[in-house]
């Protein structure tokens, strides 16, 4: 008897599974309502990442090409992977004629970055922040090394460490 009930029970369980998959098939065949995938490169215009999404580290500049990075190298020290390098230069103040240390380049190696966010947390002036861009593919690894401060940019006056 268990032989027969095995067969009927087995067939019943199989039909139960087919009902579920069949349900989704017919819904999707006629209405596409349950389709969960996105046609990725096509929806680029409407695709919006969340504000907190950690795509890359960017430096914020205002309209006068000024940023808030004083080059204190807190981020450099906080980074576990050595992805940030800060290069200094001597800047001569035209009014007083005194030479002063100032930031030349804020170099960011995207290829070494693990998006942990410690640099952004460490920054005392909130000069760097998360960018939402995630299209980082390049043909050349050297292009992953970026200079975050734009050429000719200055520190917003009055920014203190």
């Amino acid at each position: 008897m268990s032989y027969l009930s095995d067969i009927t029970g087995g067939i019943k369980s199989l039909l139960g599974g087919m009902t579920v998959t069949g349900k989704y098939f017919f819904i999707n065949f006629f209405t596409r309502k349950e389709v969960i995938t996105e046609e990725y490169p096509d929806n680029m215009d409407t695709l919006k990442m969340y504000d907190r999404f950690r795509g890359e580290v960017v430096m914020w500049h205002n309209e006068n090409n000024e940023h808030k990075c004083t080059g204190c190298s807190s981020c450099e020290r906080a980074c576990p992977n050595g992805a940030i390098e800060i290069i200094w230069k001597k800047e001569v103040n035209p009014e007083t004629g005194k030479a002063k240390r100032a930031i030349d380049k804020h170099i960011y190696h995207l290829g070494m970055c693990t998006m942990c966010g410690l640099c952004i947390e460490a920054c005392p002036t909130d000069a760097i922040e998360w960018g939402q861009d995630f299209h980082h593919t390049t043909y050349d690894r050297t292009q992953l090394t970026k200079v975050l401060n734009k050429p000719g940019s200055k520190v917003i006056s009055g920014t203190k460490e």
Partner: protein
């Protein structure tokens, strides 16, 4: 003997053109061969596309929809890519058998296609032992798969090939016994006659209980015959990588791939012929219109193929010993009882 009576008009026309009986026949055969090859490729490509689209809908996806309208040319593009690919192989493979295997598989599929009655007008080879011809030829395909597995000199392929052997030997039995059951009902082996006998009622209704059991067994056995989930241990990707065709690339791989889908089409055709009246329209609604048989045949086959696909995209895979248990402990006894039942039904005149 090749029976071409259904094409008599074309035959007469060609004869008038060439004025030579032998040459006419040769030309005719060539035309038919090319037509079937084209149909073979077309059906294969369409089935691959259908499988992918249907799988996508089962899986909450959209499926290929980029090349052509509704992705219609996707498989054509894929085929072009496969043709242009390099044919790689293993160094220590048995070169001759390795090269032979895909052709073995595809030729058996082509040969079995010749006996399928697509409609009253379209059938190349209406042999009087048609259904047994189908069984014997289609079971040759396993040798191709076995050869592929053996000659690749790869352990995964070898295991895949061995599994095919076991699986095919077992499930040929079920297919054969189901066919015997239906032959008891029909009394003939010729496919055109089997269809003709269903003029009023399809066999699945004529044989009612027994035929329905036979149909269910046939569905399971055909799935196993065509190496589809839940019986796809031969190429079980999570266990064996790709099974018997692990080492094949390019067009050689495509042959295996195509023939798998062709085998599915052939199995579905046989099921339609045996149970659902072949190319006959339901209640004879389009009986007078020529070539409507083709439409009904394709429609019925599509439904059966859809059920195969439904199986594939729902069920997990069986283990090798469970496959054997299913065949020898369940399907075989059921089949034996069913043959007796069918014989009793026919003897007592309980069929419709």
């Amino acid at each position: 003997m090749i029976i071409l009576s259904n094409f008599s008009n074309i035959h007469q026309w060609l004869l008038g053109l060439i004025q030579n009986a032998v040459a006419t026949r040769v030309v005719e055969l060539t035309i038919i061969a090319l037509a079937y090859l084209a149909a073979f490729a077309l059906i294969g490509l369409l089935l691959v596309l259908a499988e992918r689209r249907i799988a996508a809908f089962f899986q909450l996806r959209l499926g290929p929809n980029r090349v052509g309208p509704w992705g219609l040319f996707q498989t054509v593009a894929d085929a072009l890519k496969l043709v242009s690919k390099e044919l790689t192989g293993t160094v220590k493979a048995d070169k001759f058998l390795y090269g032979l295997a895909p052709y073995f598989v595809i030729i058996t599929a082509l040969v079995s296609m010749s006996i399928i009655p697509f409609s009253k007008e379209v059938q190349v080879f209406d042999i009087n032992i048609g259904i047994f011809f189908f069984i014997s030829v289609s079971s040759l395909g396993v040798i191709g798969i076995f050869l592929a597995g053996w000659s690749s000199n790869n352990k995964y392929s070898l295991i895949g090939g061995m599994r095919t052997g076991i699986q095919m030997v077992s499930y040929e039995l079920s297919v054969g016994m189901v066919v015997v059951t239906m032959v008891i009902l029909s009394g003939t082996l010729q496919l055109s006659q089997i269809v003709a006998l269903q003029q009023h009622t399809w066999f699945i209704f004529q044989g009612h209980v027994s035929a329905i059991i036979a149909f269910m067994v046939m569905m399971i056995a055909s799935t196993a015959e065509t190496n589809r989930t839940p019986f796809d241990l031969v190429e079980a990707e999570s266990e064996l990588g790709a099974g018997f065709h692990t080492e094949y690339s390019g067009m050689n791989f495509a042959y295996f791939f195509l023939s798998e889908f062709m085998n599915m089409f052939l199995s579905a055709s046989i099921i339609v012929v045996l149970f659902f009246g072949g190319w006959l329209s339901p209640f004879g609604i389009t009986a007078g219109i020529p070539f409507m048989g083709l439409f009904w045949f394709i429609l019925k086959v599509s439904v059966v193929i859809f059920i195969f696909m439904w199986f594939r995209w729902t069920f997990p895979r069986l283990r090798i010993d469970q496959i054997l248990t299913l065949e020898w402990k369940y399907l075989l006894p059921i089949n034996m009882v069913n043959i007796v039942l069918m014989a009793a039904l026919v003897w007592l005149g309980l069929t419709f």
